[in-house]
């Protein structure tokens, strides 16, 4: 990468660390450190909420998915606006007015300490591990693309984030998120404009090519439990997932608890309701345009440069033969694409014939790529899926000087945002739900502040260590993601039970365990069931079991108290 691009990247990292540290002034107690003294405006909190969800995986993985599979992934977010509105009138006002630091604190008031501690522990377990994978995903890509050691990549992403989060607390995290979001959205828009300028066809022609490849299929109305992303799994499963994520996950709850008032907290969440789907569509559109760009510009046979070098070295003849086939197939596809883009109408006979020819040639290109990926798997003995490398390779090979640096800085910014929110919330739950609850109930503000900063540093170091291992064991990332999906629906179920007055603590606690067990069984016995449905299964099981157990536990309680009275 050109030195100017590196200056931009290093300059941006330095700026956000400085800005984060600047925000730490005046933070002298837990309310300041974990809730920013509830002084943050709704738009800053709203941008921070959106930034927290937009990790580096979104910037490189989702755009890559757009390039290979089209925009169907947008269905994943269809339930989000519904969930935001529901939370805005239910849980947000309650938690904000209850003056709690964590969502789990409320569960002790409503149920008992064991339900609070179990849900808080599950959060620490799943988020602690996932925080490592959030660092690992971009670190692996940066290592391959820039030739860095994995430790170096993890340190470059992790250390600046830990510094400003540890010292500045939620205020630093929120205000840095605001700046990072501006950079990220600006970089995405600049990328779209650059791609439109660089394409040798008109935007309408580009859409015809993308449409012919099936990349604009946003909706799948089939009611299939095994298709990962359908309209129905997005609307139903997605609503449950988003209710759980935004209503019960401390990394999100902490953001809106820092808002000035209930109304500002609601408005901050509604910002996501309005803008999340358009933003996600923009991210996927970048991927689709990169796909169209590579129809006319020769794409790498393997986007992962390390795998490409290793296959070239181990199987030179096979690599040469595949490259020749690839060039031939690409040439045929580009010619068909030009005919399609230049047709007078997208629906006349010439255009239909060109679209059919384009699809045929595209199948040929994909077949050669699949063969190359199989070779990479055989040679490297690693997963050769290279979706995450498409955008970084495009950025480094084809973006003009300066813009490449801005986009790499935006990928780093996305990684830092997501990690900072996780570290801040992990520290809050560790201190409030465990240290302050079980070890030291009465302490000075300065003592708790020191412990909170130490907890942030601990989770930062833990995440970096997990990231290093996760990077070497690629499948671990998937395992951790599936692991997290065991809990989400079940924890939402406990909060739903809290709405039902007659349900008591023991019934809620047993239901939570039952919900996780059922989701675990579904995951292992019916692995084909798409993970979005796990959230529905978990929540429904917890509520169902809770309602069944409540009269049973009430009867037991009555008989025990009656027995004691008799005795």
């Amino acid at each position: 990468m050109h030195p100017i691009n590196w200056v931009i990247v290093v300059g941006w990292i330095g700026y956000v660390v400085w800005d984060g540290l600047r925000r730490s002034r005046g933070t002298t107690d837990l309310a300041g450190y974990f809730q920013g003294n509830r002084s943050l405006p709704w738009w800053a909190v709203g941008l921070s909420v959106m930034a927290t969800q937009l990790s580096a995986v979104t910037m490189i993985g989702t755009t890559g998915q757009g390039a290979t599979a089209g925009i169907g992934f947008v269905q994943f977010y269809f339930g989000l606006p519904i969930a935001m509105v529901i939370l805005g009138v239910t849980l947000v006002p309650f938690l904000h007015r209850a003056k709690v630091y964590t969502a789990y604190e409320y569960l002790e008031t409503r149920f008992d300490a064991k339900t609070r501690s179990l849900t808080a522990f599950l959060f620490l377990l799943s988020r602690g591990m996932s925080c490592g994978t959030i660092i690992a995903a971009p670190a692996v890509v940066f290592s391959a693309v820039f030739g860095w050691n994995i430790w170096e990549s993890v340190a470059i992403i992790g250390i600046p984030t830990v510094i400003y989060t540890m010292i500045g607390g939620v205020k630093a995290v929120t205000w840095v998120d605001v700046k990072q979001m501006v950079l990220i959205v600006g970089a995405l828009l600049a990328l779209v404009i650059t791609l439109l300028i660089k394409l040798p066809v008109s935007p309408l022609g580009a859409l015809r090519i993308a449409g012919a490849a099936g990349s604009l299929q946003a909706f799948d109305f089939s009611f299939s439990l095994t298709n990962q992303y359908t309209f129905w799994s997005g609307i139903i499963g997605g609503t449950f997932l988003m209710l759980s994520y935004f209503g019960t996950d401390q990394s999100q709850v902490q953001r809106y608890l820092a808002a000035k008032s209930v109304d500002e907290a609601r408005r901050s969440l509604l910002m996501s309701a309005y803008w999340k789907i358009p933003l996600q569509a923009l991210v996927l559109l970048v991927g689709v345009l990169v796909f169209v760009f590579y129809v006319f510009e020769r794409p790498p046979l393997l986007y992962n440069p390390v795998h490409d070098q290793r296959v070239r070295a181990a199987l030179p003849a096979a690599h040469g033969q595949l490259s020749a086939q690839y060039d031939e197939a690409l040439k045929g596809r580009a010619n068909a694409a030009l005919s399609l883009a230049n047709a007078e109408s997208g629906h006349d006979e010439n255009a239909k014939a060109a679209a059919a020819e384009f699809r045929l040639q595209d199948v040929g290109v994909r077949a050669v790529r699949a063969e190359a990926l199989n070779s990479a798997t055989r040679v490297t003995q690693q997963n050769s899926r290279d979706v995450n490398y498409i955008i970084p390779r495009f950025v480094l090979d084809h973006l003009p000087m300066g813009l490449a640096g801005i986009f790499i800085a935006a990928i780093l910014a996305a990684a830092m945002n997501a990690i900072a929110a996780e570290l801040n919330s992990l520290a809050t739950t560790s201190v409030i739900d465990f240290y302050k609850r079980w070890w030291k109930r009465e302490g000075s503000d300065s003592h708790y502040l020191k412990v909170s900063r130490a907890a942030t540093a601990f989770w930062g170091i833990f995440a970096c260590i997990v990231a290093t291992f996760a990077a070497n064991l690629g499948s671990l990332i998937e395992v951790v993601n599936r692991f997290g999906s065991f809990f989400y629906g079940s924890i939402l179920g406990v909060f739903l039970l809290a709405m039902i007055p007659r349900v008591r603590g023991t019934a809620a606690f047993v239901s939570l365990i039952a919900g996780m067990t059922v989701v675990g069984l579904v995951n292992f016995r019916l692995p084909g069931v798409a993970f979005l449905w796990h959230n529905v299964i978990g929540a429904v099981t917890v509520v169902g079991v809770g309602l069944l157990l409540t009269p049973l536990f009430a009867a037991i309680s009555r008989s025990m108290s009656g027995g004691r009275a008799t005795a």
Binding site: V89, P93, R110, G214, A218, A281, P501
Partner: protein, 51 residues
């Protein structure tokens, strides 16, 4: 304090039933309108450039 003394979450301090319901309806309509526009655009893209 026993669990019986504690209100469940959604009849707790947030309750201002009438204004909350009105606010919910207004917000729901606005958010749904925005989503209808966004999803309508995506659906148009899908059908207009159908392979």
């Amino acid at each position: 304090m026993s669990p019986k003394d504690i209100d469940p979450a959604f009849s707790g301090p947030a309750t201002n039933a009438e204004s909350d319901a009105q606010r919910f309806r207004r917000t729901l309509i606005r958010v749904l309108a925005m989503q209808v526009v966004a999803l309508g655009l995506l659906y148009w893209l899908q059908t207009a450039f159908k392979p």
